[in-house]
Point group: C2
Chain length 200, copies 2
Amino acid sequence: MEGRGKAIIDGVEGNYGRDELAMKKPPAGGGSCELVLRFLGFVLTLAAAIVVGTDKQTTIVPIKVVDSLPPLNVAVSAKWHYLSAFVYFLVANAIACTYGAISMLLTLLNRGKSKVFWGTLITIFDALMVALLFSGNGAATAIGVLGYQGNSHVRWKKVCNVFDKYCHQVAASIILSQLGSLVFLLLVVLLPILRSRRRS
Amino acid sequence: MEGRGKAIIDGVEGNYGRDELAMKKPPAGGGSCELVLRFLGFVLTLAAAIVVGTDKQTTIVPIKVVDSLPPLNVAVSAKWHYLSAFVYFLVANAIACTYGAISMLLTLLNRGKSKVFWGTLITIFDALMVALLFSGNGAATAIGVLGYQGNSHVRWKKVCNVFDKYCHQVAASIILSQLGSLVFLLLVVLLPILRSRRRS
């Protein structure tokens, strides 16, 4: 038995070594897919943070003080930091975009290496980014809906009829952030599958 | 070599079989931990949905119509479905609680079996629950903060000084849902680790 095994191993020793190396090396597709997703997550959250962070609109509103006099034109401004939900939304996207850049760099440096600790750590942080981004999106969307529709029950009037550009910019930012969140969600879901494929 | 191996195998054949079975069976700790977490997720999201779904308060507010007359006492109500963010929050918790119950049952039925497809599917749904719950929490918290503090820039007045019980119930529900979300986040992060331990 020992002799047969030895003979087989000796006979294909060179090929066996190459095959073993090829199996240990992760397939290029999986690693590239992870890198592309991390790059997308970084770009989308960065864009969302910039779009909401530069959101500002000043408009002239006619206000009637006395019925007998013509309305007064008053300049009113809307800035992104006036609503705490938008501040949270920007901070969440800034954190996610910073993490996206760092994780992209670390993935590039660790390419081809199979580190269990590194894999676990990055899955934890990916999941935290999903939680952070989705809560930020939820908060910004809830305030956005209020701005568009108002709420008669609590007497919160809509503001998007006055600050249209401001609201459109918030909506664009929410869409970008939502796409970024989906990318991080994909990373959480796909990474364990990609890693198990690399191992097998 | 063959003889030595055969002798050893023959000598401990009975014990070897039992050990092999014990190795294939997952350790009780990992499976129980998953079940406890799923139960916690189910209970917390169910409690959050019930607490917000039963939130209703009617209070008497004195309104002065004419300065020379005493104020009129008007009954005003606050219900959970008056704000779309709370409706979304309740639906998110109801979905997560239903999923928690189903996944708990399926985990119990699949206990001891190592199914890759089932593991992948449940990780995807766990991650979706994290996204859903955190966006619901973000939306409810954003509206809750507005209710407590109001916002002078957009002239949205605070309402929690009038509807105190209503706001406290919303706050309790958000805390319960936040705990439930953390449980699902733990499942997403811990399950791959628990599963890889079971396999090794």
